[in-house]
């Protein structure tokens, strides 16, 4: 699936996200819609396998969705050869997303350092209401010399 971009990301990364989206991201049914070094957007249709007892998007699915996006946003900002891992994540939930709706996420950087990066992901639902904010810290792992 084609992902929109402003051309700032490495074409190899774009190709990988388009042709070989991550298995866990596909498992929950999410898709990336826009990627640049400064902003990443994605969508998650709320299907019946990812809801809670009330029929709304499960809190864990929100977190999984945001975690993956924060990781991808970090990857396109890494120096060559470096990898990343999430070391910390904090979510606030404001409103539910009902089954059948589509959750949309927008991820922007709060900090991009040599050792860590901090990303904020805002999740909205179909009517535009803000439903969650996730702030996560990614550690930058440099290749051993």
């Amino acid at each position: 699936m084609a992902i929109k971009t402003d051309g700032s990301v490495d074409p190899a990364h774009l190709k990988r996200f388009e042709e070989n989206p991550h298995r866990f991201f596909r498992l929950i049914g999410a898709r990336m819609t826009y990627i640049s070094k400064d902003r990443l957007e994605a969508e998650l249709p709320v299907h019946e396998e990812i809801v809670n007892r009330g029929g709304n998007l499960h809190g864990g699915a929100f977190m999984a969705f945001a975690d993956h996006i924060g990781g991808a946003a970090t990857i396109v900002n890494l120096p060559p050869g470096a990898r990343t891992t999430t070391i910390e994540s904090k979510s606030n939930f404001f409103a539910p997303v009902m089954g059948g709706d589509v959750a949309k996420a927008e991820c922007t950087p709060l900090h991009r350092g040599r050792t860590t990066m901090v990303w904020q992901t805002r999740i909205t639902r179909g009517d535009g209401k803000l439903v969650a904010i996730v702030t996560q810290t990614q550690m930058v792992l440099m290749k051993a010399e």
Binding site: N52, R53, G60, A64, K90
Partner: protein, 135 residues
């Protein structure tokens, strides 16, 4: 005591979370890290571990509530310390830090098969009127 271990939400079953102990003071569970729960480094995806902790905290807080009450997660924070490899079973243990009339706060420790601590999550659950399950 309610038995939410037998009435897990669809997402928990989809991911493969098993509740192994349910008491008012402690809830335990297991999650086998199948290949589809892994990341590109061949270890458990952070989102899979977050899902596991959220489910344990939700199950734990629901267990001690009357039938007309339910909970919703309003806030969650997780620290990751070590990776769980694909093929291994992650074990989770949730204990209460606070059980008030309006909110409950639960701490969940995730450990690897070698006993090393993999993650700690703290969840704040808001107590709300129960909604009928839509299945």
């Amino acid at each position: 005591m309610r038995m939410p271990a037998d009435q897990q939400p669809p997402f928990a079953a989809y991911v493969g979370i098993k509740i192994t102990l349910l008491t008012p003071e402690r809830v335990e569970g297991e999650l086998e890290i199948r290949p589809e729960l892994g990341n590109r480094n061949g270890v458990a995806h952070g989102g899979a571990i977050m899902t596991f902790t959220d489910n344990l905290a939700g199950t734990a807080s629901t267990a001690s509530l009357p039938e007309d009450k339910s909970v919703t997660t309003v806030e969650s924070k997780i620290n990751f310390f070590s990776a769980v490899a694909v093929g291994e079973i992650a074990r989770g243990e949730a204990i209460p830090l606070h059980r008030g009339r309006t909110t409950q706060v639960w701490q969940t420790r995730i450990t690897r098969p070698d006993g090393r601590l993999a993650a700690i999550a703290i969840h704040t659950q808001l107590i709300i009127p129960a909604v009928p399950a839509k299945r």
